[in-house]
Symmetry: C2
Subunit: 182 residues, 2 copies
């Protein structure tokens, strides 16, 4: 594999560090851009963000979008999860499923890639369920305390640093890595 450089449209240092770690032979440069976020499916949102980022940077670039999809709500709140979390918090999200027996959910990360010629989306999914908040100190991030991945009896928050070995973002980055290594 040749040495490659890729831009990552993010202002989030943790996400950048994770990407550098996984795409280890690729030089990943973080670039904070204020990209508009569209309504739609996670794939569409990530793809559109990557296209917009390419229009600005004019170099191979990735952009990511995360969704939390409740089965009982047919995939919603989906990409709108951040708005829901900001407004109604973890408790409010749990309450959305109160009328339903099915608490299952999918954590989805889509990474859009655009280099001006090729536009692709790489997707990582972790299946799990929504639970009452259970958190580990210093790992209170986002909806991590209410998402328990299948096969674990810990939430993403309780898994702490271990989360990154099994996360939806990790999976999407591994898909991207395969593509970049081709």
């Amino acid at each position: 594999m040749k040495h490659k450089t890729i831009y990552f449209a993010t202002g989030n240092k943790d996400k950048l560090r994770e990407a550098k770690l996984i795409l280890n032979k690729v030089d990943v440069i973080g670039k904070k851009l204020n990209l508009l976020e569209l309504q739609g499916e996670p794939e569409e949102v990530a793809e559109q963000k990557a296209r917009m980022a390419f229009e600005i940077i004019k170099k191979p670039v990735i952009a990511e979008d995360t969704a939390l999809c409740f089965t009982a709500l047919k995939g919603l709140p989906g990409v709108y999860i951040r708005h829901f979390l900001d407004r109604i918090g973890q408790e409010g999200l749990v309450k959305m499923l109160e009328p339903y027996k099915d608490k299952s959910a999918e954590a989805v990360c889509c990474i859009g890639y655009c280099d001006g010629k090729i536009t692709k989306v790489f997707k990582g999914v972790v299946k799990g369920k929504i639970v009452e908040p259970r958190a580990k100190a210093n790992f209170l991030f986002g909806w991590d305390p209410i998402f328990e991945p299948n096969g674990y009896n810990k939430t993403f928050s309780e898994l702490g640093g271990e989360k990154h070995k099994i996360s939806h973002r990790k999976k999407a980055l591994e898909e991207l890595k395969k593509f970049l290594n081709k």
Copy 2:
């Protein structure tokens, strides 16, 4: 008031007819555009749509966006109402409020206007509450069967054609009319 022409970025004939009726001295021309819909507040979404429409048409243009805001959910589903309706239907929307006593909601219409120099948003709000679906034949449109405006014991659907005299869209169009008449 001088005779004016305005474009309305919509493919919806009913919305166009309503706009023509209310803005009666203005020549309203419908134009179906596939505008991207952003995430955000109704004002932002409508404003952005109007800007995008102007970029295409290069003539004074309006675009509208509708939101249904549940008080208990701090304004959500908001502009995402269409996605929620498509996915989980009227029953699913009612269920979102099952864990809450407060069933109040606001129907919001924002009309963005852009003529290249001025960009403005006109907002119409109707307060009401979310109820079990009650509908009148031929008025099953969208979430009308589950929204009961305050001061009426009928849902938007049951109000039939009367709805348009009190609707959020009517109110927003009246605001726009004042502006155009200046």
